[in-house]
Amino acid sequence: MSETTTSRLAPWRRSAAGSVGLYSYFVRLAFLKFLAYRLRYYTGVVSYTIFVTGHYYIYSALFASAVADSPDGLVGGLTLPEMITYVAVSWIGRSFYFNNIARELSRQIQEGEIAVLLIKPFHVQTVMMFEAIGESGFRLLMFTLPIMVVIVPLFRIQGPPEPMLYLWTFVSFCLALVIYSQFNFLLGCLAFGMKNIQGVMRAKMVSMDFLTGVVVPFTFFPLWFQHLMDWLPFQYVSYIPVTIYLGKHQGPDLARVLLVQLAWSVALFVAGRFVWQRSVRNVIVQGG
């Protein structure tokens, strides 16, 4: 064979169809992988229900005592039924977009497993993004839907003011998935430069639900904090999709928040690509 005797390597580029085939295969594989561990998620349904129940009673008590001082019946800009809906929808959303890319990536970097990915002709970041999509597809079916079946009737969660907002909320949570995974990817890249990243991971675990607005809506915070959050991507992970559901963004404002969300998704992806390429160039893969 003449191909094997030349001393040149033939130029190669994956075709567009090849890329679609490859990345959709990663979605499929991630789905299958999590399906193998589906038992783990049944306990998740119980724990999420407990979280929401806890918040239900806390906010009921809070509104009962605070509503006397507020003539319009609003606390933190929300009525009690809105508040309960906020809590339920934000946890339902979290069950969909959540993933552990940061921990997984940093583990692979520190144990040197990343070498196996680096000798493959694909972009690790893109692959991880599509794996996250596969994981969330799995979560949607096996985790988010069961939780909705339990929580929505249990707390009599209201629908959005307009039916179209179901769609926009879903779109917004999909963009939240991109933002969340790309932020996680960037965080995971820190493992290239740090010997021990456990502390960072723990700090992230604790602060993430707080910064995204899952734990407490931003309207409860002082104004300066809300202004600060306007300049950061975190609120687009949970606070914005949930307030879209509640009908707090109408018309042009709805278009605006969705576009900003899209911009953050793209920006974080580009930042991820940049940081990844710089890190890999200076990489010291640990161990043999």
Partner: protein, 338 residues
């Protein structure tokens, strides 16, 4: 002759290490002012490998083998020096380049742990854009040579080490790469599995003309697979040439261990081998050890004299481990060649 497929010139890689001080106060000082030290893992390494050759890249632990391999596969960027493989610079054109190479890193699998083996192969087919016809043909070859057909539908985590290694080899070759990098391909395998792997590598090289570079601790791998060896120690190339040539330089040292029925001294045993060039190195009581060189005296002759002269219960012969071959090369040359 056309230019070599793989060209390495002046390849050097430094690592920056932080040297820890002792004790509590030392630890505190480290926090403020860490002592950094430069370690040269690979030092001015140059060689060329023509297409289709199978080369053993050997050296002791920490000699710089893995670091070199990482640079050749494009995972690591060198501090200085050049590598081109078929006109491509591995770490600069990573995606282009990795399409043409395959690699197996000893204990690290590239198969998807939780999934059936065949899922990994299907994924690799997509990754390398292998058409269905080639895929089927390659899988047929792998099943013939490696018998992987039986456990294609088992999850990777349930395979034995030997089975996994066979799957990993097949996975590295599915896309018919031009260059195959193997880091300790037989580590931890039993004798039969080792032989399978070696047989497979020989056949695949003849069939596809793939260029193979392998690191190993196993002298058997090298003897059976490589005509050419490159020995590296402390980051520098100490020997680059035919295996035969290496043998001629260091000889074929063998270590003999004997167990006797009665206790004896080394001197008594030395008397049995008499004028043969056998060196009794250590031992007292019933167990003794000796070294000799097969190029100077045949093993059978030594054993015959020994059995005639003493009441031997058991004996065993061991080839010189690769670390010692490397050490001998180093000792002979005194200083590394510039």
């Amino acid at each position: 002759m056309s230019e070599a497929l793989l060209q390495v010139r002046g390849l050097t890689r430094d690592y920056r290490l932080i040297k820890k001080r002792e004790g509590v106060s030392g630890g505190l000082i480290d926090l403020v002012r860490p002592r950094r030290e430069l370690l040269r893992a690979v030092d001015d390494v140059s060689f060329e490998i023509p297409a289709g050759e199978m080369v053993g890249y050997i050296g002791a632990n920490g000699a710089g083998k893995s670091t070199t391999l990482k640079m050749l596969t494009g995972i690591l960027t060198p501090t200085s020096g050049e590598v081109t493989v078929g006109g491509l610079v591995p770490w600069r054109e990573r995606v282009q380049y990795t399409r043409h190479i395959g690699a197996v890193f000893g204990q690290r699998t590239q198969l998807w742990w939780d999934l059936a083996v065949v899922e990994s192969f299907r994924l690799l087919q997509k990754i390398y854009e292998v058409d269905e016809q080639t895929y089927q043909r390659q899988m047929g070859i792998f099943d013939d040579l490696l018998d992987i057909g039986d456990y294609l539908h088992q999850p990777v985590r349930k395979l034995s080490l030997g089975q996994r290694m066979r799957c990993d080899l097949a996975a590295a070759l599915l896309h018919r790469p031009r260059v195959l990098f193997l880091d300790e391909p037989t580590i931890g395998l039993d004798v039969v599995a080792k032989e399978n792997v070696r047989q497979f590598l020989r056949e695949i090289r003849e069939r596809d003309g793939v260029t193979i570079i392998l690191t190993t601790h196993d002298i058997g791998d090298i003897e059976q697979l490589c005509r050419r060896v490159i020995i590296i120690d402390k980051g520098r190339v100490h020997f680059d040439g035919e295996l035969e040539d290496l043998r001629r330089r260091v000889g074929q040292k063998v270590r003999l261990t004997v167990d006797l029925r009665d206790t004896a001294t080394s001197a008594e045993l030395a008397a049995t081998t008499g004028d043969l060039p056998v060196r009794w190195t250590s031992g007292e009581g019933r167990r003794h050890q000796a070294e000799f060189n097969r190029s100077e005296v045949p093993g059978a002759e030594v054993i015959k004299r020994l059995v005639n002269g003493a009441h031997v219960l058991d004996l065993s012969l061991a080839e010189q481990p690769i670390e010692e071959v490397v050490r001998d090369i180093y000792r002979q040359q005194g200083r590394p060649t510039p």
